[in-house]
């Protein structure tokens, strides 16, 4: 169990660093949403289902959707 948690933590950090460095903004937003989703799984591991639900619905779904709308309506890649 603890190895799964470590794997997920490393994956989250990797996604976060990648989403900062990627030039393609849509890919960066999707990676950010994925990292939120993994964090919500980690909250379940820490026995905090309430926080996990908030993180999954707001962090992974709504925030990502709002960012994607904004990226679609502005520039798709960073210069």
């Amino acid at each position: 169990m603890i190895y799964v948690a470590w794997f997920l933590i490393l994956l989250t950090i990797g996604f976060a660093v990648l989403s900062v460095h990627l030039k393609d903004l849509l890919a960066a937003v999707i990676l950010m949403g994925a990292s939120s989703l993994i964090v919500s799984v980690l909250f379940v591991f820490l026995q905090a289902p309430d926080v996990a639900m908030s993180e999954a619905s707001i962090g992974a779904a709504l925030t990502m959707a709002i960012y994607i709308i904004v990226v679609k309506k502005t520039e798709a890649s960073e210069k």
Binding site: P49, A52, M53, I58, L62, A65, I66, K73
Partner: protein
């Protein structure tokens, strides 16, 4: 060159601080007695099975009012930047791409179930994990799905604003009502606690969380509506 030196110094500082805290405080161990107090007394004092809900609405109800206010300020800020009147929205939304039939009809069939699930989460906030914030966000994501699947989808922004305001007013009025009861304090739990484990229990926690859920749902829907109705480079669709 100087930038990379500054970066490395900050990185070293962050790593050092994290290591110090990891060594000084064992992760996940209870350092304070207050957590055990809540676990021991919540069901007796508030009648709520979900301790987290009891803390956010009963013991720290005033903080939740502040949290709701912050969200209200954020939604108002988005409206301030992106608000359009209803006629202007209809004129501006001019989709070039129509989603296919299955997506449009399927989203309309799924939407009631999403709303039902959100309501379930809100109403059972004091019994199971979840509550007003989570349920409201789920309802708003249902609205988001409708917006994605139907380019001519349109919710009246004024109705959303009125719903949001009434829900916020309900929270404040329920809190104020506590001032005139035996508790004599803001957000005192003046309704009967009932049997823990039933839906109609835990006094004012249920109406409070319904108010929070409606408020969060309409606020997020409003933000989504504002964003979608602003025509950008791609026309009206996103």
């Amino acid at each position: 060159m100087t930038r990379s030196i500054v970066y490395s110094v900050f990185l070293a500082l962050i790593v050092a601080v994290v290591l110090v805290f990891l060594v000084a405080f064992p992760f996940g161990q209870n350092k304070m007695g207050v957590g055990q107090y809540y676990l021991d007394n919540t069901v007796k004092q508030t009648g709520a099975e979900n301790v987290v809900t009891a803390i956010t609405l009963e013991y720290r109800g005033f903080d939740t009012l502040g949290e709701v206010t912050v969200l209200f300020a954020a939604a108002t800020g988005v409206s301030l930047l992106l608000y359009l009147t209803d006629e202007e929205k209809k004129r501006r939304r001019n989709p070039r791409v129509q989603p296919n039939f299955v997506v449009r009809v399927g989203s309309r069939i799924i939407f009631p179930f999403v709303v039902l699930f959100g309501l379930y989460i809100i109403v059972h906030g004091h019994l199971t994990p979840g509550g007003g914030f989570q349920g409201g966000a789920i309802i708003a994501s249902g609205v988001l799905m409708l917006y994605l699947a139907n380019p001519d989808m349109h919710v009246s922004r004024n109705n959303l604003l009125i719903t949001e305001g009434l829900a916020g007013l309900t929270y404040v009025l329920l809190g104020t009502a506590g001032l005139f009861t035996a508790g004599r304090s803001f957000l005192a739990n003046f309704l009967p606690l009932g049997t823990p484990g039933l839906v109609l229990s835990a006094g004012i926690l249920l109406p409070l969380y319904i108010a929070v859920g409606v408020k969060v749902g309409s606020e997020f829907s409003g933000i989504i509506d504002d964003l979608f109705s602003q025509a950008g480079e791609t026309g009206g669709e996103a």
